[in-house]
Symmetry: C2
Subunit: 479 residues, 2 copies
């Protein structure tokens, strides 16, 4: 019970220390435990249940586009990792190496996969012969390992969980279409399920994935105004195919290289979920993704009929397809309210002797604490409507926050001022040169989040160097 | 197409060479690919889809008993692995060690988990304080690594996929009840979903899990008469709790050690699925677990209305909750029949111009090739009934095979003769001494598969040494 006491008492407020608030929430909502394995986290039931719902929904959306799941090895031999030059340069510094197995030194080091492009390339080289074998649209759900110096639960850990899709196509156009399709799928998923609005765009060359021709990204804004890259989709062109020799005979019998893509979303998105919607009472989960959508809290539960009525309501609501639990523990109701709020459960139903007598219940939304007295025979419909409204309101609130925290900068002074003093993103024109990206990062720690698909004309010249502008870029500090 | 040709032509028969038949089936039904990562396999879409169905069904059954999913780190620090003496002795020789990470030598080696008892113990030590925190019933779906010298897809690979459940309880009785409950859950799952009958029993001390007080097992019989251990459930007593210091304050405020269990089922079970049901035309999948239950094969599909009718049938059958595909490729029907048989699809529906004219279709079961002409307006009901009958027949056939291949031995001569000449299991009495187990293994390569829960009295004395018998044991050669 010592832990429980702390849970309700000590939550740092977001304004006081956002980083500490975040840590408080992930641990007190019991999403993760720290592990003694350096940099690794444990996903506890409440955290893993969110990831299960994310997996379930994303997986269905993938399959609807023709994606098939596979499972690839955990290890990548060093020689295989080295086949594509940019890729190995990007990843080699941050991998873990297995050097001993079964009591012996290995003849070749195996890295624990940081991502699996090389393994998929090897498979595709093996199974693709003809245009009839294309496209291949494979995905796997797994964990990957990247050696990190400083780690934070969900946001940056040595091991994290994700899906990685890898596709091979006959033409450049088809690969590009798949790359964009998956980015749109991620964006729709974030908005529809997580109530997180995102900005879609292309990464600059500096920020793109190691080995990709182009990387598309969705960027979300956290409550502190910082960006979180929430999903990426890469078009590799035929670069990996040339490095690995993945060729097929086309309809005219000519040998062609395949065009490839990869795309991923990870447990990092749970960090976004926390930092977009959470408040000073803890987690706030959008109803569609919440493992428990409704918590029934009996009032004066020792009195005759209360627990029975609670069980009856749970059965009714569950039968209507809702995910419902009842807190029958011996804690007092106020304590239970705080716990349910800390855990971000979207709606609570209070039911006590007086309510039963009056044929009603009290429902309270998590996001805005709106209270409603509901006749018991209208409970199911009202609860469903309240959850839908909560989902919609959370998205609208997050979208309003995002849109009201993007600033335009025409001059470098405006730019510096916005980054320094206004939490949020800055849109500004860019000449396309790495030099300006580096200077901006050096001066402000902000990075180019993306070149949005929806471009606006802010000015004629680069906000940094004054040369002719090529692209409008969204800049921001990022997780 | 070269591969496809081989697929239909070259299948070794089971009688000719069972091991080669197995390899032919796993590769030609496209369940796995060999990987260049030594000892590791790739689960291709057809193989992974079976595993997905297994996971989906098992997971629902676990959750119905109160199990919650978590995700634990991939790595175990050497010092943590060493905390329980028997456990480290059992696993240390077969683990892979990470010694380098992020470009540096690690201060302590990390093993890639071969199983996660030690990690769960560390977590439980952290989160269990009071009897109110018990029981903890956690499970994870993941892959584990055990360095193997000789490997075969599904049966023995360096990396394999599984679930591992780990529970902690206040009392010995509760831990024992959970151990048995999960074994029964596995047995029911095998019979109901996979049509694989199993023998439930306890492992001898020699064969039990490293660190367990007792290991319960389900043993299935393959077509060649060999055993395949298909799922295990371990009762650890308080051994791990004492090694890791996992204590809770009981209702009377006394400090007690928890009692723990673990239980697992792995991708190995897919090997059983293949070797129990497969035939000389390839895989035979039980309808309840088959990713595709019905394959519609259009005959003379270039003729007007055939593909349209096939699409209509697919829609009707899908709407009835069946998993249905149509093979619209340009191969000829005979070829398609062979492919569908190789892949083990439980039922095919043939539909051609003459069928359409007659308002009928032909359905053919995979297991016994029984052919039935069905009026189109009765198709859904007939297909459903045929699939149910096929599932039931497959279980009955497998049960009959199992029961008719278990032999009793009262003398060592009978025992030696049965093991040498009769594929299957032998039941015989045992004195309980390791010495006899070792001698039997030395003389016959057979091992004690289990001491069945359902004991019979075969004789008064041990089949090996003639001393008084303590237990009836099921002996057999095993995968």
């Amino acid at each position: 019970m010592a832990d429980k006491k702390k849970l309700v008492e000590a939550i740092t407020s977001r304004e006081e220390d956002f980083a500490k608030w975040y840590t408080d929430v992930v641990t007190k909502a019991e999403l993760v435990s720290y592990s003694t394995v350096k940099g690794c986290m444990i996903l506890k039931p409440a955290g893993y249940a969110i990831w299960e719902n994310i997996m379930h929904e994303l997986d269905a959306r993938f399959k609807a586009t023709g994606v098939e799941n596979v499972a690839m090895p955990l290890f990548i031999p060093e020689s295989l990792l080295q086949k594509e030059k940019d890729h190995v340069e990007g990843f080699a510094p941050e991998v873990a190496w297995v050097t001993q197995g079964g009591g012996e030194m290995l003849p070749e080091r195996l890295c624990v996969r940081p991502t699996s492009e090389t393994l998929f390339c090897e498979l595709y080289k093996d199974i693709v012969e003809s245009y009839r074998d294309l496209p291949k649209c494979y995905n796997q759900w797994c964990s990957v390992v990247r050696w990190e110096k400083t780690t934070r639960p969900f946001l940056r850990t040595t091991e994290f969980w994700w899906q990685e899709g890898h596709t091979a196509h006959a033409t450049e156009e088809e690969a590009e279409a798949r790359t964009v399709q998956m980015l749109n799928l991620y964006a729709d998923f974030c908005e529809e399920m997580l109530a997180i609005p995102v900005i879609k765009g292309q990464k600059t060359d500096k920020e793109k994935f190691a080995g990709a021709n182009s990387t598309y990204t969705i960027e979300a804004m956290m409550h502190d105004g910082k960006a979180l890259q929430s999903g990426t989709s890469h078009n590799f062109g035929d670069g990996f195919a040339r490095a690995f020799g993945i060729q097929f005979s086309d309809k005219d019998n000519s040998l062609q290289y395949v065009h490839q893509t990869s795309w991923g979303m990870s447990t990092r998105i749970i960090g976004a979920l926390i930092m977009v919607h959470g408040d000073d009472s803890g987690l706030v989960l959008p109803p569609r993704i919440a493992p428990t959508q409704v918590m029934i809290i009996p009032i004066a539960q020792h009195k005759a009929g209360v627990l029975e009525k609670a069980a009856e309501l749970q059965e009714t609501l569950s039968a209507a397809g809702l995910r419902v639990k009842t807190d029958e523990s011996d804690k007092n109701p106020g304590w239970k309210f705080s716990e349910q709020e800390m855990r971000g459960i979207p709606l609570r139903v209070e039911i006590g002797p007086k309510d039963i007598e009056a044929g009603q219940a009290v429902i309270v939304r998590r996001d805005n604490r709106e209270k409603q007295i509901v006749a018991l025979d209208e409970l199911t419909g009202t609860v469903k409507a309240a959850l839908e409204q909560e989902q919609a309101d959370m998205l609208a609130r997050a979208r309003n926050f995002l849109e009201s925290h993007i600033y335009e900068a025409r001059t470098y002074d405006e730019f510096m001022d916005a980054i320094a003093n206004k939490p949020g993103f800055v849109k500004a024109e860019w000449c396309g040169e790495l030099e300006c990206e580096l200077k901006i990062k050096e001066d402000t720690t902000a990075t180019a989040r993306c070149m949005p698909f929806v471009q606006e004309h802010i000015a004629d010249t680069c906000v940094c160097c004054g040369r002719p502008a090529k692209k409008m870029v969204i800049w921001g500090k990022a997780y």
